[in-house]
């Protein structure tokens, strides 16, 4: 069976959920061979094996942390040369897309980004993508070279499928371009204890109607009652009420959770672009004419300062 290279996104050996989802998709088109780089790479093996990786190629070097993107491209290319895979899958993070794109040019291949599903096809893997603020669904394939495909979080269920997961050291020779962009300082983002926005099963977002940074605690309290991530519209971010890393929409993150709750968000096209593929959509807004109500499974026309605290209290009561 053909081998499929899967690039592993991990933090000190803890594999992030989108990579486990990738392994599920990779098994549809071949045998997953995982590539884990940086500190703790070998510690990823157990989780990767449990989810179907037949092999785990690992490599650690200071270059991965000290320089931007290119060292990882060099390593993925080394893995590509060693394996000659039928496809290369990479998580659709900002960095993942950059790594995949540069690899594609190097190996003379086409690239598909932000796939939301993947199936085996007669002429190679077929990727589903959303277009035009998720108003269209396209099916595409790579027509030149070895398909390089980046996949969005929440595109597949994580399924256990134990495999050998034999760890092999990858030999990497860095190119002379690897040290071109130096990372001179790194400030880790303080953890909120909430799920990562793009990976969360439930997202609770606030917009212009929240009317002030101090009021975002109302949104956070609802999120915490549901174990959800917190999102914000561009209007709320531009006003300085919530960090840009939490922005949902065209210029922020695109999310596709099981449940999306929009509070005080009118639903401009730019916001819809980032949340329209959510499975269940709920909105709370004073304005009955707000376009967000065209998308909802359930909507409440009302003041979020009344509705959201009542909802939070009711959820906490029901959880007992």
């Amino acid at each position: 069976m053909a081998e499929v290279l899967v690039y592993v996104d991990h933090v000190d050996g803890a594999v992030r959920k989108p990579t486990l989802e990738l392994l599920t998709l990779a098994r549809r088109i071949g045998e997953p061979v995982a590539v884990a780089l940086g500190p703790g790479a070998e510690n990823t093996a157990a989780a990767l094996a449990e989810h179907g990786a037949v092999k785990v190629l690992t490599h650690d070097a200071a270059e991965y942390a000290d320089y931007l993107v290119v060292p990882k491209v060099d390593a993925l290319q080394a893995a590509y040369d060693a394996v000659s895979p039928a496809a290369v899958l990479v998580p659709s993070s900002a960095e993942g897309k950059e790594i995949a794109a540069r690899l594609a040019v190097r190996i003379g291949s086409g690239i598909i980004t932000d796939a939301t599903d993947l199936e085996a096809g007669d002429e190679g893997p077929v990727a589903t993508q959303s277009a035009f603020a998720a108003s269209f669904t396209t099916k595409s394939r790579v027509s030149k070279g070895t398909p390089v495909i980046t996949v969005k979080p929440n595109s597949a269920a994580v399924e256990a499928a134990p495999a050998a997961g034999a760890v092999e050291a990858l030999t990497v020779t860095f190119s002379d371009k690897a040290t071109g962009t130096k990372v001179t300082a790194r400030t880790p983002r303080a953890s909120t204890g909430r799920p990562e926005l793009t990976e969360a099963a439930i997202v609770v977002s606030g917009g212009r109607g929240v009317n002030g940074a101090e009021n975002f605690s109302i949104i956070e309290n609802l999120a915490d009652s549901l174990g959800a991530a917190v999102g914000a519209s561009r209007a709320a971010v531009d006003a300085g009420w919530y960090p840009h890393t939490n922005q949902v929409g065209q210029t922020g993150k695109s999310v596709s959770p099981q449940l999306y709750i929009a509070s005080g968000i009118s639903g401009a096209i730019q916001h819809r672009a980032g949340m329209q593929t959510s499975k269940t959509i709920v909105a709370i807004n004073k304005d009955a004419e707000a376009p967000i109500f065209d998308l909802v499974d359930y909507g409440v026309v009302g003041d979020l300062f009344d509705v959201v605290p009542q909802l939070t209290e009711e959820i906490n009561t029901r959880k007992g």
Binding site: L68, V69, S93, E95, K97, E98, A100, A101, R102, V105, R106, G110, I111, I112, T113, D114, V126, S130, A131, A133, S135, F136, T138, K139, S140, R141, V142, S143, K144, G180, T181, K182, T184, A185, R186, P188, R189, T198, I202, L226, H244, Q250, L259, I281, V282, I284, F293, D294, D297, Y298, G299, V300, V301, G302, D306, V307, Q310, L311, E313, E314
Partner: protein, 261 residues
Amino acid sequence: MSLRIVVTVKYVPDATGDRHFADDLTVDRDDVDGLLSELDEYAVEQALQIAGDADDAEITVLTVGPEDAKDALRKALSMGADKAIHVEDDDLHGTDAVGTSLVLAKAIEKAGFDLVISGMASTDGTAGIVPALLAERLGVPQVTLLSEVSVEDGVVKGRRDGDTASEQLEASLPAVVSVTDQSGEARYPSFKGIMAAKKKPVQSWDLEDLEIEADEVGLEGAWTKVDSATERPARTAGTIVKDEGEGGKQLAEFLAGQKFI
């Protein structure tokens, strides 16, 4: 010495219009008004600020696209860019991101550059990979997704805000930079800027000028193939209630029914 800045921009269908695909599954450009991609305005703005801080700098704005794409160039020129290059060729219709990066890279090399500045992504394709592709093709450092950027003594520095950390980056010129919408509000063209833009030079190049064969680009030469595009079915109308004091509880009931609680 003069700092040569090339800003890559894209002419995109207006997101508030009825965007859809043409019969050949490329983006239909005839039925929707086009404009300069909003995210590229941030690239033009940062170019203007970097040029303003330099002793001597020249900003060239570059696009690949049909005849109408000149509108995107005019907008950038009216903001303050010095000159423009329009790569236009019938054989470019249907070119994908990898092909576009080839055309841009050849044009940037022909124009000459010290710094390339791009937006973080286009507002139509939204892939956000062209800056990295350009860095790979040009063989220069990529300093991408910056929310803050500056250039001094031949070195570009910037801040990249990622999911897990915020990083300070540094590279020697020549380099490729991309900026996010957090980099600073883009200026509006002044009346004077709009009038001046009419007199600024816009050069037109075709594939032959760039020594690119027709079969390397376009729909036939694309590295990817779109097999189908279907409109997402309209959502079935949901339940909408008016809050008369019990709105939160009613919503909780709905969420419980859907097993979210």
